[in-house]
Symmetry: C2
Subunit: 386 residues, 2 copies
């Protein structure tokens, strides 16, 4: 092993390897006992995805699936799951850091079988990465280990700055001393120790360029905030890190996106998790995240509040909603977690106005307006949607 690998990594490996080993050894037990070989795990289907009203999370239900080796329909998936388990286990004990793409390549080959009748059969382990990715999820739900727990790395886009110190690997990093740059979140955010923090809330901005602006202007210093960007659709590490800031440090989390259904969706991924990956929301979703804006009320005003844009600004800045925006809004309106009074009003307002707005339009009124009026005023008056 490289002498530079950190201690937390070594310990994480041991934990994961042990759990994996135990799980797969139970198959050997079945063989020894002469039982039929079965892998049992939660069923990952839309029907078995439930919205937990209490915890406000999308979770996998009670429904289990049994993968039976001796069932012709399931033998292939059984083989794939055990193959993937062994590849991941090998990577763990060999101190490797595979990506899901690596795992696809590592397992990709043809199994050749010479049958008793003399014929030769060939079966590919998997053909496309979509297939091996799905097998990785099987291993995750089977073992209750997330891929990050198994030291599987991935591309990361999330960044943060703020008055906090963290321990990552062998280093202590002061996230308030990043100059004009930022700290790029690591792929295994659970291995990060939060050493100390001085902050009143977390502001997550969808757009990297807006993050750069707010950072440069000293926004987080002035308002005692942790500033995060997901740089678009958030990746797993960013979601997990934001969740930890909320859960462990009790910091309120505000999400700032464009005023359109895509922005709402980004908020929703932070808050609820995605439907496809509900098995992970238990650890990745921040059920208390709030949508700070931009809201329809910010653009057009409401009976209770003045619009932030003038008539003239609206004329220049508003973008007409496209058909796919309307369609998306109609879908979102029916999601259970959007069935709050505030959200239903927001979506109706959007469908009535058929208008969307980019956050940059707010910045074009002056970055000071965005940084020192719009955002802090909305946070102070509790003008968010959840």
């Amino acid at each position: 092993m490289s002498e530079f690998v950190s201690k937390v990594d070594k310990e994480a490996r041991q934990r994961a390897a042990e759990i994996l080993k135990k799980k797969f050894l139970s198959i050997l037990d079945q063989i020894n006992k002469g039982e039929s070989l079965v892998l049992e795990m939660p069923r990952r289907t839309l029907e078995n995805t439930v919205y937990d009203e209490q915890r406000k999370l999308l979770l996998l239900g009670e429904n289990k699936v049994k993968r039976n080796f001796l069932d012709l329909n399931e033998a292939r998936r059984f083989m794939q799951t055990t193959l993937m388990g062994s590849i991941i286990y090998d990577a763990l004990i060999n101190n490797e850091y595979p990506t899901i793409r690596d795992l696809y390549y590592r397992g990709k080959h043809s199994i050749v079988l010479k049958a008793p009748n003399g014929k030769t059969y060939e079966e590919n382990t998997w053909d496309e990465q979509k297939e091996s990715d799905s097998v990785i999820v099987d291993v995750e739900v089977l073992t209750s280990l997330l891929r990050e727990d198994m030291l599987i790395l991935s591309k990361e886009k999330g960044k943060l700055v703020g008055d906090m110190r963290i321990r990552s690997g062998n280093d202590i990093i002061d996230l308030s001393k990043m100059g004009h740059g930022a700290y790029s979140i690591e792929p295994t955010p659970d291995l990060v120790d939060i050493v100390d923090i001085k902050a009143d809330y977390v502001l997550v901005v969808e757009k990297d360029a807006v993050f750069q602006q707010l950072h440069r202007e000293g926004f987080w210093k002035k308002y005692n905030a942790i500033l995060v960007t997901s740089a678009g659709q958030p990746d797993r590490a960013t979601r997990r890190f934001v969740r930890r800031l909320n859960e462990e440090l009790k910091l309120p989390v505000y999400i700032l996106t464009d005023a359109d259904p895509y922005g709402w969706y980004i908020y929703s991924v932070f808050r609820i998790g995605s439907i496809n990956l509900s098995y992970e929301s238990e650890r990745l979703a921040t059920s208390q995240a709030r949508f700070l804006g931009v809201s329809m009320g910010d653009i057009f005003g409401t009976p209770k509040k003045k619009a932030y844009l003038t008539e003239r600004e609206r004329n220049n800045f508003i973008i007409k909603a496209k058909d796919y925006d309307i369609k998306r809004a109609m879908e979102i309106r029916n999601y259970q977690w959007f069935k709050t009074k505030n959200w239903q009003e927001e979506i109706s307002y959007f469908l009535q106005k058929k208008a969307k707005l980019e956050i940059e339009a707010m910045a074009s009124k002056g970055l000071k307006f965005l940084a020192f009026q719009y955002i802090p005023e909305k946070i102070q008056t509790g003008d968010f949607i959840s």
Copy 2:
């Protein structure tokens, strides 16, 4: 102004504002002298883009364009250029950090004119961002200031780690103490001071996930390298920072991408600049960058060297080149800066084999193979293409 803004930013603003002011004041001079209003700048067309053999850079040629206010065909562009100049100037003296999207919004409105004949005319300043972006480039070539010099910020994807200290804003940052994370390059890399550095070369990896792996494995510590990722197609800040590492510190720069025409293109953007933006290559391109791999010789071997992949690995890992890969390769073959013996051989080899390979296929032989054999061996033996 926010009390948190750094001194380097204030100084950069003053420099840029002065140059802009001087340039546009010359228009007032023309008015005072009763001359016709003309803006003169290098012509930005493919015909006026020349490959400088000596400096090995794509540059704008000698050809100038004159934008004449009293020429009906040019009056609109004249108006746009002066409008953009004034918006950027305002942003500079008001301590703003606009993005190109902000600048689009800030200038977007209709100019209404009541003509002497009583009729009302309306003209939009610009309709789409493509238009305003092009006007920003006009201001850049007119003033010889890059957008970064004018404190125009943008989304940034580039990251780095390595044994170096930099000063950015008011902070000194130790890029060897980033834990498992990384330093996210700031949008104005010319405002970074390189305080000290201990490195033998710069390794730029196209893929963020591969960067994460090499970083985690301690690659840069073991080989005394600065490790950079462009996370795909490189942005301006990453290109500029890599150029500075090469030019100011004389560090060799190696680019590691997939073995396909898209990977070659990424190398080419680092090395030469893009055809559309040749006005900037003078400061952004690293004319001495070397393509480390993955090369066709690494996959299939050459008369002089053994392949890194076995026959069986090739069968499993190689991806058949698509039609667009072939087409792209034929185009690239004709670019002047690919007309070296080594590149022509590489492209011919590709066209003959019609095969491409992802860097992850190399990692799937074991991350240790990639980090501690393939990369260092190729660097040590000078096995690169340029």
